[in-house]
């Protein structure tokens, strides 16, 4: 059985023999089995079948977009999972498309967002329980239900929504300038499925990133063009989330120049529209992510110095001035700052599989793992600011003399120069899919070795005259 044939409903992670029918029936059973558990969340309608009345489904739709309480315990989390499964199975497996208007404009985004958020917090919760040992009862429940909030189920929902709505085909048509309705099909031409399908792509970007697959995360957006005209830009939180995960994925792929471009774009946008957004309910969530992105952009700029937009630079100084200076200065003192900011600003990474309940110490926080891998590159680059500050002053220089300036020996310096050169070349996006790009030089200073002589070269930007000329011409016309 291939994964693509499964529509709706969770798939047991290790059960390769199941087929669609088995899956569908287990889903129904799961839903029935949980009827009695519904009570403690107040009555939002019985989840008992696939043909609920119109009012009922409207209620369930709006309930699906409601955030789960922060303090929610395991039973609430399990119940919430079953509700999502029921809802998605209803939307995907009913006979023909479900005829519904979207309750509110932002609804589709909020459902996908909340669905992934709950998946994310559930995994973190489970991980915490496993690491602390603690509550026997909870450990037992979690052990017995490895499929609940499993990553195969979550991915299955997202991919099924994308496929049902023919979203990739629709986006490809839009790109070619054709009418998306021609390929949308029965489901995809309805706003409900269209919006769910579209935001599921953004959801996939996020899930892949949470699982540490940064390449696939960026590849997921192949059909979406990142610009202000994109559909996600109409929902502020979606716009913001997309750029956060794209930028973060670039950063983890060591494409710092692209990460900076991505973060800058959205941060400028937010700072310009701040006054319109203040009254918006989503604004609180945005503010937190906003600060995280400033931390990330500070790290990227320290690793790959480029000129920032003036407003961003000013806010960066205001928010992280001290840390930013230290990171830019480089050296071993900068390492703890990088670690601190990374942990503050990274997404809440998850491990896709149930943790090892028998050996609590075996469950390393995935964030620590990703941090460790990221820090290899930071530690390798940390000396470049000092080196660069000396290279700037000379056009030719003896290797041994330069070594004594930077307080090291000639051999180490030679290695550092090779690394400097390598870090100075980065793949940078120009057009096409987000993973595409050309190798470009990022810094203006370059060098070459001739024996023990370092030749330093600079890429200068000539004077820009056209603007000046045009402006003065305009004046003379007036």
């Amino acid at each position: 059985m291939s994964f693509s044939q499964v529509n709706g409903g969770p798939r047991p992670p290790h059960d390769d023999d199941s087929d669609d029918e088995v899956l569908a029936s287990t889903l129904v059973e799961a839903i029935h089995g949980n009827d009695e558990e519904d009570d403690y969340e107040g009555e939002t309608g019985s989840i008992s079948g696939f043909q609920p009345s119109g009012d009922d489904i409207q209620q369930r739709l709006s309930a699906a977009a409601q955030p789960l309480e922060f303090q929610a315990g395991l039973p609430e989390r399990f119940a919430s999972y079953d509700k999502y499964c029921g809802l998605f199975a209803y939307l995907l497996n009913s006979e023909g498309p479900v005829d519904l208007e979207i309750p509110t404009y932002h609804w589709a985004w909020e459902v996908i967002d909340e669905f992934i958020y709950q998946f994310n917090t559930f995994c973190s919760y489970r991980h915490r329980v496993a690491r602390k040992g603690g509550n026997e009862e909870e450990v037992q429940i979690l052990k017995e239900n490895p499929q609940t909030w499993g990553c195969y189920s979550v991915l299955n929902v997202l991919y099924s929504l994308i496929q049902r709505s023919q979203m990739n085909e629709q986006l490809a048509a839009i790109k070619k300038g054709e009418d998306p309705d021609e390929v949308a099909g029965e489901y995809g031409s309805r706003p409900l499925y269209r919006m769910l399908g579209y935001f599921s792509i953004i959801g996939l970007l996020r899930v892949h990133c949470l699982l540490g697959d940064f390449t696939l995360a960026l590849k997921t957006l192949d059909d979406i063009e990142l610009n202000k005209k994109a559909v996600f830009a109409k929902v502020m939180a979606a716009h913001f989330t997309t750029y956060y995960y794209v930028g973060f994925s670039y950063m983890m792929m060591r494409r710092y120049a692209d990460a900076i471009r991505t973060f800058s774009h959205i941060l400028v946008y937010v700072s310009r529209t701040k006054n319109y957004q203040k009254n918006n309910a989503q604004f609180d969530a945005v503010t937190k992510k906003n600060d995280q992105m400033y931390a990330l952009i500070a790290m990227c700029v320290a690793l790959c110095p480029v000129r920032l937009d003036d407003t961003i630079h000013a806010s960066l100084r205001e928010k992280y001035g001290d840390q930013f200076t230290k990171m830019q200065r480089g050296g071993p003192e900068a390492i703890p700052i990088f670690e601190e900011l990374f942990m503050q600003a990274c997404p809440k990474f998850i491990s896709p599989n149930p943790p090892d309940f028998e050996n609590p110490e075996n469950n390393v926080d995935p964030a620590q793992h990703h941090l460790q891998v990221f820090m290899y590159d930071v530690k390798n680059t940390i000396f470049t600011p000092v080196l660069k500050s000396y290279l700037k002053l000379y056009t030719t220089m003896d290797l041994n003399k330069l070594a004594s300036f930077v307080e090291t020996d000639a051999e180490t310096l030679r290695k550092q120069l090779v690394v400097y050169k390598q870090k100075n070349r980065q793949v940078r996006w120009t057009e096409g899919g987000l993973l595409e790009g050309e190798l470009t030089q990022t810094a203006d200073l370059d060098f070459a070795l001739q024996g023990d002589i370092v030749h330093v070269s600079e890429a200068k930007v000539g004077r820009k005259l056209v603007d000046w000329y045009l402006r003065n011409l305009q004046k003379s016309f007036a």
Binding site: M253, R254, V364, H370, G451, V461, G462
Partner: protein, 242 residues
């Protein structure tokens, strides 16, 4: 997608991807545990034929991530060894991100796979910090490395080509003693090796041909002026005349 410094020679031929792999990667079968064996064979193929396909190998690691019981240790180490040859690109670290979170901690996972991963990570750190001489010393000091790279045909030659590529990018002249340490070659071997790349060994220096990277010419970016920029001015000039 690897960020190698450009050169005229590609050390690893980037053959086009076989069609059946392309089909799996493009569809949802990339999550299907049954495709694990297809990807494993493909890794074997890459090892034997000196090709490299980052996206396919990451897809395999992801399948292992989702289905830990299918994990085949020697395939993981083969994927890592292949990624090692792509330095200074991010490939090796992209693979590490997909491995279990406890793998890098020696206190927690002492099993052979974790040990091998940590050993390869150490090699990668040496390569990324351009400590090529130390890379060869470490590599030769431990027999485990020979076992790990055994499946990967021509590993040492590939590494030598990659290091030579980096050398060619930073230097137009370099001391023989330095470069023979970087490439782990004796003087005579170095002569033969360098000839292929147009290097000239002259006593205690090696002269390398000039390329875009090791010229280090100061350049000035001039602005490009297009006629369109003056469209407005020209238009207005006509309008005023009328």
């Amino acid at each position: 997608m690897a960020a190698t410094i450009q050169s005229t020679t590609t050390p690893i031929p980037l053959d086009s991807r076989p069609e059946h792999i392309e089909n799996i990667l493009g569809g949802l079968d990339r999550y299907n545990p049954e495709t694990v064996s297809v990807f494993q064979d493909y890794v074997q193929y890459q090892c034997e034929n000196k090709t490299y396909d980052c996206l396919a190998n990451l897809a395999l690691l992801k399948l292992y991530q989702f289905n830990p019981h299918l994990t085949r240790e020697e395939t993981i180490t083969n994927v890592l060894v292949k990624a090692l040859t792509m330095f200074p690109g991010p490939d090796f670290s992209l693979c590490l991100h997909l491995l279990p979170p406890n793998i890098l901690d020696p206190a927690i996972s002492p099993e052979p796979l974790a040990d091998a991963v940590r050993k390869l990570t150490h090699l990668n750190t040496l390569l990324e910090s351009a400590s090529y001489r130390e890379f060869w010393n470490t590599y030769e000091a431990d027999d485990l490395y020979a076992d790990l790279v055994a499946d990967c045909a021509g590993f040492e030659d590939t590494m030598r080509d990659m290091i030579a590529l980096q050398t060619g990018a930073v230097a137009r002249e370099i001391r023989t003693e330095v470069v023979s340490g970087w490439l782990n070659l004796g003087e005579e071997e170095l002569k033969a090796f360098g000839e292929r790349l147009g290097w000239k060994v002259e006593g205690d220096v090696v002269k390398l041909p000039l390329n875009r990277e090791n010229e280090a010419k100061t350049t000035v970016f001039r602005e490009n002026v297009t006629f369109n920029q003056f469209q407005g001015v020209v238009k207005r000039a006509y309008e005023q005349a009328a």
